[in-house]
Symmetry: C2
Subunit: 469 residues, 2 copies
């Protein structure tokens, strides 16, 4: 089997058989050899090692080097860097790579790229770098890229490629095949023939499979798919990805404000967006800057993480102010200081569980008007039952530990209150943020843990000072 599979497919095949530390072994050996070739400034060996590899894997290797190695690497390997590799390179180090590439290599590489990849490459560059790359393109490609850049960031217009295969609606299968055979230029990958009317409004599409399986005299119009739908160039890329996933689209025509065909989005682009959006959601939930990457420097990392830690500090101080109110109580019953973090921690965790489920359900549009109250009710019941369960457990633990029935009762009641509130905060805060147009993934966590800390400390210490003193 190995002789048929390109070298870099090894992880799919290897990891299937057994998932252990040897997984990366072949990879690691290869990486070591690449590293040695760079150290020795041995371009020939480098070429030989990378030649069988997929552009995406070469890009990964470039990303994982340190900057010093990368500099040498780019010098040795520049001639081989093509559009495919370039479009795979992570945003984090893209500017660094572009700067170090000889101008003619860069110009050659961008000329090979599809318009959507060029847009992706240059949209974050500064004006002069952008102009330089645009200048390297053919007139028609440049026009396509500029048209795309005219749409808002993160819109379907930025995501689409302008290379589209269309046919007039009145053509037959035979005419279409003859046209395709004679056409000099066709996109690398395409999955549909888009039917357009004379004013370039898309009115249907035919899958290539359907085209191939039909008789030459069949009219295209009769082969058009039910699944046909157009996407506005102004649609948000996240919504585009959702539509592809929800409706199992493979490609979809993009139209401008006048409903004219301006490009096409293919599923691999939608898949990348889905991947990025998920990534961002996870990072946001953890209070990490959404652009953070493993290639970031210390300064970039600090810039992403400090603000959220600062917010957390503020909320932690707020919770401490609650504790400060009960200083005398704690001084008299020091067991309270020992037990109070347990109440807060349980609330924080229960709240995080609920909010994560809620944030995901909102992101996947499965929490809607029709089921929201049912879900809120479920969370409230679950919160109370969790609270009762852990009230019992902690009551027993506190009784055994500190030999006090009242203390056990106090922590039990505080646990019920805090886990109940945690559940409500966990569902209502994301819903509220969504309602006011904020991103629930970004801010919910801080709000929810603030609520559970404050309520946890207040319920526990407040009850204690009422009951125990």
């Amino acid at each position: 089997m190995d002789d048929k599979i390109p070298e870099n497919a090894d992880q799919v095949v290897d990891q299937a058989s057994e998932r252990d530390e040897d997984d990366f072994q072949p990879r690691r050996e290869l990486l070591a050899r690449i590293h040695f070739a760079i150290e020795a400034e041995d371009g020939a060996t480098l070429n030989a090692l990378l030649d069988p590899m997929h552009a995406a894997d070469i890009a990964d290797i470039i990303e994982n080097m340190d900057s010093a190695d990368r500099r040498v690497f780019l010098r040795l390997y520049a001639g081989e860097i093509d559009g495919e590799i370039l479009s795979e390179i992570d945003e984090g180090i893209r500017e660094e790579v572009l700067e170090q590439l000889p101008r003619e290599v860069l110009a050659e590489a961008v000329r090979e790229m599809d318009s959507d990849d060029v847009v992706d490459l240059i949209e974050d560059l500064d004006e002069s770098d952008r102009a330089e790359i645009l200048a390297a393109l053919d007139d028609s490609d440049r026009a396509a890229v500029q048209q795309s850049l005219a749409y808002p960031e993160y819109s379907a217009g930025r995501l689409m490629q302008s290379e589209v295969v269309t046919a007039p609606e009145h053509w037959t299968v035979g005419e279409t095949i003859d046209f395709l055979r004679n056409e000099e230029w066709l996109p690398e990958q395409f999955y549909h023939i888009i039917l357009v009317d004379p004013r370039r409004h898309p009115i249907g599409y035919v899958t290539l499979g359907r085209l191939l399986a039909s008789r030459r005299d069949a009219p295209l119009r009769d082969l058009s798919e039910d699944s046909f739908r157009t996407i506005s160039a102004y649609a948000e890329e996240g919504d585009v990805a959702y539509a592809f996933n929800q409706y199992h689209l493979i490609s979809a025509p993009v139209v401008d404000g006048d409903d004219r065909l301006v490009g096409v989005i293919t599923i691999d682009d939608a898949m990348s967006v889905l991947d990025e959006e998920h990534e961002e959601d996870i990072l946001r939930l953890a209070g990490v800057g959404e652009d953070s990457a493993i290639t970031d420097t210390v300064v970039e990392t600090l810039r992403q993480r400090l603000p959220w830690l600062m917010v957390n500090l503020a909320t932690a101080i707020a919770a401490s102010l609650v504790i400060a109110v009960f200083e005398t109580t704690i001084q008299q019953v020091v067991a309270l200081a020992v037990l109070m973090p347990i109440v807060a921690s349980m609330g924080g965790n229960a709240g995080t569980q609920t909010l994560t489920v809620a944030v995901r359900a909102l992101a996947t549009k499965s929490l809607t008007g029709s089921n929201v109250w049912r879900v809120v009710r479920r969370e409230a019941i679950v919160g109370l039952l969790n609270g009762l369960a852990f009230a019992l457990v902690m009551g027993v633990v506190a009784y055994i530990w500190f030999d006090g029935v009242s203390l056990a009762a106090v922590i039990g009641i505080a646990m019920v209150v805090n886990l109940g509130i945690a559940a409500l905060a966990g569902i209502l805060i994301p819903l509220g943020l969504e309602k006011v147009g904020a991103d629930p993934a970004l801010a919910s966590g801080t709000f929810v843990t603030t609520v559970t800390d404050v309520v946890g400390f207040f319920a526990f210490l407040g009850l204690a000072s009422a009951v125990l003193l």
Copy 2:
């Protein structure tokens, strides 16, 4: 534009223009009308409302009903439930729906489905339900489904469809097109013609676009794509999704242990897997059962969340034991009880930031042997710098609040120690779990916060009792 777009595509188009609370308005109205039709047991209206909708949207609506509505709905609408709707229905309520469908509807629906969708539908059913559905299939479909079920759960073999379009390697374009035109049965969607040798070993593939653009006498062999790679039927589905995403595959042939073609996986299946894996990662990071869904009942929800809260309770008690050691210290300087949660909370948050980035990097295979020490070093430096920054801030806050220089010094030092440890725990614990074959997303959070709680309390209270008493 609206007249051309199916009703259910509204979210892509609407949400693009403005993201506000009106987004779901058209949807909500429709849902209300569906609800009324169910209440009134008005099957005709229900049919009329759902007729223009995509199967995926109908499935969503079924998922979002409460069980009572769903029961009535299924009675009224059973005749319209087809294979497409059935394959879109979420696992969480699938069994409930299957049970309520008339047997002949179910049999008819599964006969329409692709083999991979049937496998997905029945793999979690019990033996007798499974047998019933298998019995409804044609012999050849049943054989395909059983072959698929023979592969391990979550393997490529389960994910593939057995419907494959192949051609002998020696065929020309013309022969292939003639074959396709005469073939009675072709899959709904296919993107490649897979070239096989006489023993059914796949040796290349030709995209349909390439086929359409080539002359009739061109040999298929000359049109085969470089990107060709096979996937082992035993490969894990997560690795398959990774390969599709990494190498921009559209479809890939699946081979058995003898390298013979047994099926094909298409990108939409890979996209669903990617989506599910992300979902699971997010839920695992939050300590929520990975199978949790918004349709779960109270009991299912409790079953998923209680175990993790139990683990959290154990670690919270462990942290409290550390506090208990310093009871006398706290009694003498009660300000310590007020400030100690701040140290622990900052450590927990900083640790969670680091671990989330690490877990994601491991999941996307971007944290590898070649950059691991660089990343660990970066995290350690970031942790120390964060620690110094917040030591300064909290030192000043503590000094102003409690008017004590020593107390300010103690909390500052504790902050540096805890944020430094948090960073190391945040990166080393996921790496360690990955090394021993555990899922870093599942367990890292608990370990990391335990470390930061224990270290935070110990550093702060230990230093305090040494310095302040």
